[in-house]
C-alpha cells in the first residue's frame, strides 16, 4: 500500500511542479519512476506518455472551447508529429537503455540551462497548465516576435496555407515546421515527453504563430503525438498498468492543483529548486548512461 501511495504522491508533486512552471509532467515522471522507484527507463517512458496524454487532453479541451488553439494548423502538424512518434516508438525498443538515459540527461541539462537564463529575467510570466518551453518568455523578450514577423513577411501564404492562418498572422514555411514536427514526435516517443519544448518555438519562430496560440495548439497536438507512441509501448508490452494507475491519477490531480495555485507560489524560488532537481536528476541519468547505477 505504501508504494502505491508514494507513487500517487510523487505523481501529484510532478504534476503540480510541472503545471506551475509550465513544463507539463512528462519531464519529471521518467526520473521519478526510474530513480525513485527503480523502474526500467523504457517502462517509465511508456507510463510518462500516458500521464502526458491525460494532462494534454484535459487542458486542450479548455483551449478548444476558448478557440485559443488553431485546430487546422494543429491537425496538419499532428500528421508529422504522429509519424515521428510511431518511428520513435519503434526506435525506443531498438536502442540500449543507457543511450536513452544519456539522451534524457541532455534534455534535462538543456531545460535547466534555459531555466537558469530565465532566472536572470523578471519571473512574472503567468503559469500555464501545459507544456510551455521554459525559454518561451525569453524568446518573446529577445525579440522573437520580430523574427516571427520577418517569417510572416518572407512569402505570402495562399491556397491551403491561407486556411491555416489566424487573425493577424499567416502561416509560412510549413515544410520546415513539418520536418521539425517529425523530430518532436521522435523525441516525445523516446523520452516520454509531450514535445512542446520543440513544437512551441517551431510554430512561433518558424511559422510566425503568436506565442499564446502556439502554446495552445502545441497542447492540442501533444495528445495524439503521445497517443501514437504510447500505443506502440502498449502493443509491444513495455508498459505496466499497476504503475501507470496511481502515477496518472497523481499527475492529473497535481496538474489541476498546480494550475489553480500557480499564481500564489513564488516562481523564482520554485525555479531555483527546479533547476537543482534537474541538475541532480541529470547527474543520476548520466551515471545510469555510464553504467554506474
Amino acid at each position: 500500500m505504501e508504494v502505491g501511495l508514494l507513487m500517487l504522491a510523487g505523481g501529484i508533486a510532478a504534476g503540480a511542479f510541472g503545471s506551475i512552471l509550465g513544463l507539463g509532467g512528462g519531464l519529471l515522471i521518467v526520473p521519478l519512476l526510474t530513480l525513485g522507484f527503480g523502474l526500467p527507463l523504457r517502462e517509465a517512458v511508456g507510463v510518462s506518455l500516458v500521464c502526458v496524454i491525460v494532462t494534454s487532453s484535459a487542458s486542450a479541451g479548455v483551449y478548444l472551447q476558448r478557440r485559443q488553439a488553431n485546430l487546422r494548423l494543429g491537425m496538419v502538424l499532428e500528421l508529422f508529429t504522429a509519424a515521428g512518434a510511431v518511428v520513435g516508438g519503434a526506435i525506443a525498443f531498438l536502442i540500449d537503455e543507457r543511450l536513452l538515459a544519456g539522451l534524457f540527461a541532455l534534455l534535462l541539462v538543456y531545460v535547466a540551462a534555459t531555466m537558469l537564463q530565465g532566472l536572470r529575467q523578471p519571473a512574472d510570466e503567468p503559469a500555464t497548465d501545459d507544456e510551455t518551453p521554459p525559454h518561451a518568455h525569453l524568446a518573446l523578450e529577445a525579440g522573437a516576435d520580430a523574427a516571427a514577423e520577418e517569417g510572416r513577411t518572407g512569402e505570402p501564404a495562399g491556397g491551403f496555407l491561407a486556411e491555416l492562418g489566424g487573425p493577424g498572422y499567416d502561416v509560412t514555411r510549413l515544410p520546415v515546421a513539418a520536418l521539425g514536427s517529425v523530430g518532436a514526435g521522435v523525441a516525445s516517443a523516446l523520452l516520454g515527453i509531450g514535445g512542446g519544448l520543440i513544437k512551441v518555438p517551431l510554430m512561433h519562430l518558424v511559422l510566425g504563430v503568436p506565442l499564446r496560440v502556439a502554446t495552445a495548439t502545441s497542447n492540442l497536438m501533444i495528445g495524439i503525438t503521445a497517443s501514437a507512441s504510447a500505443i506502440v509501448y502498449l502493443v509491444r508490452g513495455g508498459f505496466d498498468a499497476y504503475v501507470a494507475g496511481p502515477t496518472a491519477i497523481g499527475v492529473f490531480v497535481g496538474a489541476s492543483l498546480g494550475s489553480r495555485l500557480g499564481h500564489r507560489v513564488g516562481q523564482r524560488a520554485l525555479r531555483v529548486l527546479f533547476v537543482l532537481v534537474l541538475a541532480y536528476t541529470a547527474i543520476e541519468m548520466v551515471r545510469r548512461a555510464a553504467g554506474m547505477s
Binding site: V50, A58, M75, A230, P246
Partner: protein, 120 residues
C-alpha cells in the same frame, strides 16, 4: 466565425470529446488504483499485460487490472477519437482536405498498432 471565415461548430464538439473521454478514463483508472492500493497490492509487483479477452472478467470480478487497463485504453484512444470526430465534422462541412489529413493521422496511429504487433 472561425479564423478562416467558416461557421463554427467543430471546436466545442472536439472539446467535449476530449473532456468526457479524459474524465471517464481517469475515473476508471482511479477506481482501479483504489482497488489496487486498498487491496494491499504493490504497483511494483508487476501488473498483468493487456489482454482484451480477460478484460470483461476482470471488470466483473472487480479486479484492479480490468479498471486500470480499460481506463488506460480510454486515455490513449481519446485523442484518436477527437481526430475521428474532426474527420466527420470536416467531411460534413465539405472540407475535404482537412478530412483527408484527419484520415491520414488515424492511418499513422493504426500503422503504429500494426508495426507494434508485427515487432512484438
Amino acid at each position: 466565425m472561425t479564423t478562416t471565415g467558416r461557421p463554427e461548430a467543430l471546436e466545442p464538439a472536439l472539446a467535449r470529446v476530449l473532456q468526457v473521454g479524459t474524465y471517464l478514463s481517469i475515473g476508471l483508472v482511479a477506481i482501479g488504483s483504489l482497488l489496487l492500493i486498498a487491496g494491499g497490492g504493490s504497483p511494483l509487483a508487476g501488473g498483468p499485460p493487456l489482454s482484451l479477452s480477460t478484460l470483461r472478467g476482470d471488470l466483473l470480478a472487480l479486479r484492479p487490472a480490468g479498471f486500470l487497463w480499460l481506463g488506460i485504453l480510454g486515455i490513449v484512444l481519446t485523442p484518436a477519437l477527437r481526430v475521428a470526430t474532426a474527420l466527420l465534422g470536416f467531411w460534413r462541412r465539405g472540407e475535404r482536405a482537412m478530412a483527408g489529413i484527419a484520415l491520414l493521422i488515424l492511418a499513422v496511429v493504426a500503422a503504429g498498432v500494426v508495426s507494434g504487433l508485427l515487432a512484438g
